[in-house]
């Protein structure tokens, strides 16, 4: 009996969905907009995370040595730093490499190149580029370098400067700005999502309001609550599924179109390739939201008319 009932409820729901064209069109459209907004939330939090990670990767420490420092001393320090548990990678840039990179960077600026020639010798010190395993560990690495551990064998320091402290303030500030901008964006999209969920909810309530007389007739021929409610919930679920599929489909050209823009705006974040990579995740969020909103609004809305 249960299966017969279930079959009847499903069939009735599907027929109602199919036959009530205008109502179906309105509900599915509203629901699609809602799900697009929910999709926006998923993307905006992804953008936040990627941008922050990208920024954190940009943090490193450059230790510049005085020009007279011997390569042996520098390599000694390199070994000491590498033995620190917080450090993941240390790259050694020789004086010559530093000069070549500098010339390369200023290849269009003749006056700087001329000044270098005038100088006759290489004014740049060798550099150790240090990367920590975690951004929070840079402070302790920098302190280590500032301290007495990095002295040469001669007992005087060969380190010219450590650039961590200058960069840190800039990076911290940028991180804060991005985080708060994204929080604001998130709050806005959440607000939009709540509003559109309410609109979707009301649209479905309206469709049930239109059927209130029929619901009372069903009551009077002795149909049970579940048997009346069932098809409406099924219709709500179908709205959710169809709107969800439409949303996923619409996101394809939309993210493709936005892809190159986001890539240049947020460091290397291409919204289109993100969408493709995380398709299953996003699809399940959207489909679940659609089905949930559809079923819940139907179930709640119909209760009012079932009291006969």
């Amino acid at each position: 009996m249960f299966w017969t009932k279930l079959k009847r409820v499903l069939r009735a729901g599907f027929f109602n969905f199919w036959r009530d064209g205008t109502v179906t069109l309105a509900s599915v459209s509203v629901m699609t907009v809602t799900l697009l907004v929910i999709g926006l939330i998923a993307f905006s939090s992804a953008i936040l995370n990627t941008t922050l990670t990208e920024l954190e990767n940009k943090i490193d420490i450059n230790v510049t040595f005085i020009t007279s420092a011997s390569e042996e001393d520098i390599l000694n320090i390199k070994h000491t730093i590498e033995s620190l548990p917080e450090v993941s990678l240390v790259t050694y840039v020789t004086r010559e490499e530093a000069l070549a990179a500098f010339k390369e960077r200023h290849s269009s600026d003749q006056s700087i190149l001329a000044a270098l020639d005038e100088l006759g010798e290489n004014p740049l010190g060798a550099v150790l580029n240090v990367r920590a395993r975690d951004p929070s560990q840079y402070a302790s690495v920098a302190e280590f370098l500032e301290g007495s551990n990095a002295l040469s064998s001669g007992g005087f320091t060969i380190i010219d400067r450590v650039n961590y402290f200058q960069n840190k303030t800039a990076i911290d500030k940028l991180t804060k700005i991005i985080a708060s901008a994204d929080r604001l964006g998130f709050a806005l999209t959440l607000f939009l999502a709540i509003i559109s969920v309410l609109i979707a909810f009301n649209t479905i309530r309206l469709t049930i309001y239109l059927a209130r007389d029929e619901i009372s007739v069903m009551r009077l021929v002795g149909a049970s609550t579940a048997f009346i409610q069932g098809p409406f919930v099924v219709v709500g679920v179908i709205y959710g599924i169809v709107a969800g599929l439409l949303t996923l489909l619409m996101l394809l050209p939309l993210t493709y179109w936005l892809g190159s823009t986001t890539e240049s705006f947020f460091v290397g974040f291409n919204i289109f390739s993100y969408y493709l990579r995380h398709f299953l995740e996003i699809a399940s969020i959207i489909m679940f939201s659609g089905v949930f909103i559809g079923a819940l609004s139907s179930a709640l809305a119909i209760r009012k008319y079932l009291k006969v």
Partner: protein
């Protein structure tokens, strides 16, 4: 047997719809309830179906007070009663066949029963060619015949018809009354609420006249008094 025992219905705005109504209806009876609009005919029927509760008194069906029934029992009780309304009240998104099948599905009848009974009952009301039409594609008389078929298909003990001919022309009215008569002859109690004098004279069955919430006459011979 249906018994209304000193039933009163007073609405919250203190308008009195029924006042101390006592009435009993025997099984297999054909009873007409007549009276002007606002006499309390529809309220009486609503109280019987437990759509509304009486302010005082009780309504019994086979010695059970229908207002003490639980939700599930009310559903089962309503399946024993077929309803026909003045405005037909068909389900607009369902075909003729589905409208009738819905009642059977709601009662939990098997698919095979539905497939054999629906065509049968449609034949009884002479609507076989319209089986796949939607209500909007039918005339008033046809809609009412679908409604009657729907009321009949679960083989109810009682058929309640509330102004079933109110929206119909004389020819269709005559048809509907003949169908109701036929149903009664087959052994179903019929309660007909109407203010159509012609119908009463045609039927020659028991007539209960109501006015302003009271029963003013109960006549076995079947005459409509002005």
């Amino acid at each position: 047997m249906i018994v209304f025992d000193r039933v009163s219905k007073i609405y919250p705005d203190s308008s009195v719809a029924l006042e101390e109504v006592t009435l009993s209806i025997e099984p297999k009876e054909f009873i007409s309830i007549v009276g002007p609009s606002g006499a309390g005919k529809t309220t009486l029927l609503k109280l019987f179906l437990a759509e509304e509760k009486p302010t005082q008194g009780a309504v019994y069906y086979d010695s059970v007070n229908v207002h003490t029934l639980g939700k599930k029992e009310i559903n089962e009780f309503r399946r024993k009663v077929g309803m026909v309304f003045q405005d037909f009240r068909l389900l607009s998104t369902k075909t003729v066949y589905e409208n009738i099948a819905f009642t059977m599905e709601a009662a939990g009848r098997a698919d095979e029963e539905i497939e054999s009974d629906v065509p049968h009952v449609l034949e009884l009301v002479d609507l076989t060619p319209k089986v796949w039409n939607f209500p909007r594609e039918l005339s008033g008389g046809e809609k009412q015949r679908v409604a009657i078929a729907r009321a009949l298909v679960n083989e109810p003990d009682i058929i309640i018809a509330d102004e079933p001919t109110g929206n119909l022309d004389p020819a269709n009215t005559y048809d509907i009354v003949q169908i109701l008569k036929k149903i009664n002859d087959l052994g179903t109690t019929v309660i007909l609420a109407t203010h159509n004098k012609g119908i009463i004279d045609l039927l020659k069955r028991r007539v209960v006249a109501m006015d302003r919430g009271r029963i003013v006459r109960d006549d076995r011979s079947g005459k409509y008094f002005e």
